[in-house]
């Protein structure tokens, strides 16, 4: 197996480093930590380590999560493997040798404090090469507008877990699109549906994190 494939494999199966006992069938083997370091030391471009290694693994776990063949703990182990690998790439982000795909502003809508779903989406976006600007919970139009102003060209996502708070999304979307009619807005959360997404003029309803990533990637492809 090539080293980039090994990195992808470690991320997909949540093998953080040699010390980590998980998954049991990879016990005592190197993990993402060791392989990313080895790849960079051997002269592989940091951008390739990210795109051909780490992101491939994260994409695979996202697909499995959507298919309900893995659950949150496995995704978190993958994310942890991803983050230890990303730590080696940090200097290359700063130097500009590795470029992020784009920026994604995310927040839980005003009145709502639920953030586990939003955090999972943020984590998987980061793992797929996006810079995430996380506005936290209970986020109103003013904060979304301020972030939109500070990070022009960003994609924006908002989540809600309550039927009473999801209606607040409509007002925020109106305001965001007033500033930039081309602004793409993603919505998600347990009580939402495609029908609701259409009603409030959001651009994409994501029932799972992988859907957010795939739609964001498709927008990037269109733009290029």
């Amino acid at each position: 197996m090539e080293i980039l494939e090994k990195i992808a494999h470690c991320v997909e199966f949540g093998k953080i480093n040699k010390k980590s006992p998980y998954p049991p069938n990879m016990r005592n083997e190197d993990g993402a930590d060791e392989y990313v370091k080895e790849a960079l030391d051997s002269g592989i471009e940091p951008n390739d380590v990210l795109k051909e290694g780490l992101m491939i693994g994260m994409n695979k776990i996202g697909v499995k999560f959507r298919a309900n063949t893995v659950f949150v703990p496995q995704v978190l182990m993958s994310a942890k493997s991803m983050s230890v690998g990303m730590a080696h790439l940090r200097p290359h982000f700063i130097s500009g040798a590795v470029q992020r795909k784009g920026k994604f502003i995310i927040g839980t809508i005003k009145g709502d404090l639920h953030d586990i779903g939003k955090n999972l989406v943020a984590m998987m976006l980061e793992g797929n090469g996006y810079e995430v600007i996380d506005l936290g919970v209970d986020v109103g139009a003013d904060k979304f507008l301020e972030a939109q102003k500070q990070h022009p060209g960003s994609l924006i996502g908002m989540s809600a877990l309550l039927t009473t708070t999801m209606t607040n999304m409509a007002e925020v979307i109106v305001e965001l699109k007033k500033v930039d009619p081309t602004q793409k807005v993603f919505v998600g959360g347990a009580p939402l549906s495609q029908e609701f997404c259409d009603k409030i003029n959001a651009d994409y309803y994501a029932p799972d994190p992988q859907g957010v990533i795939e739609y964001a990637n498709s927008l990037l492809q269109l733009a290029s």
Partner: protein, 235 residues
């Protein structure tokens, strides 16, 4: 036959209870439905974090309380103390034979809530996720304690109870949380509601348990809920 109204003393029966988390006997097994809904192997790492966090949280206290009030149904609405509840078809069907309801709330309180929020998801995602689940299990098991307490107490009076039914579930809009709290004493257990009907502390739970001679307990679970993509759904 003795009438229900004679059996129950409906005046001044609000009861408040404080429980130590350790009394709820929480174990990793209680978390499994969240961590591994289909029985997939849970990484040992998560089991270790779970055991460690449960052990720390066992020293905290939770609060719970309830009051019993007469209830009737009018077509598809539930009427309690002049307040009408639109609880949805599934719940109204369960409450049609109830003559009283135990209106309850449980909360982890501010001190335990702060403890549950101590981890930053971005840097300690596994720990943050686990304590969030433990928080859910704590309120669920406290609500179950109340449910059992009400059931045992009413059984002595030859009355039966329904399962626990909460705003935000099974088509009962969460906005009706305001009406539910109107039935409880002011500042009950220190729980407050925001404009959306969300409770603070956030790890709190409210609901009703139907009581009556012909009330029936029906198991309800995630399978009957319409929120198919809920992150908390037990698949």
């Amino acid at each position: 036959m003795i009438e229900v109204a004679e059996i129950l003393d409906v005046k001044n029966i609000t009861e408040e209870i404080k429980l130590k988390v350790s009394d709820l006997d929480i174990s990793v097994a209680d978390l499994k439905e969240y961590l591994s809904p289909t029985g997939e192997e849970i990484p040992q790492y998560f089991i270790d974090i779970s055991n460690e966090e449960i052990s720390k949280l066992n020293n905290f206290y939770v609060s719970a309380g309830y009051t019993i009030l007469p209830a009737t149904t009018e077509v598809d609405l539930l009427k309690i103390s002049e307040e009408y509840f639109n609880v949805g078809k599934e719940i109204i069907d369960q409450l049609r034979k109830a003559e009283y309801v135990a209106v309850y709330a449980v909360t982890v309180g501010n001190e335990l809530e702060n403890e549950l929020l101590k981890y930053d998801f971005q840097t300690q995602m596994s720990e943050a996720y686990i304590v969030d689940i433990i928080g859910n299990v704590i309120v669920e098991k406290t609500a179950l304690y109340i449910q059992n307490k009400v059931a045992v107490s009413e059984k002595k009076k030859s009355l039966k109870t329904t399962n626990s039914l909460s705003p935000g579930n099974c088509g009962w809009d969460i906005i009706e949380q305001f009406k539910l709290f109107n039935l409880l004493p002011d500042n009950f257990l220190g729980i407050t509601l925001n404009n959306s009907g969300m409770m603070y502390p956030s790890k709190s739970l409210s609901g009703m348990i139907g009581i009556g001679k012909k009330a029936r307990f029906l198991h309800s679970d995630c399978k009957t809920c319409s929120s198919k993509n809920c992150v908390y759904r037990k698949k």
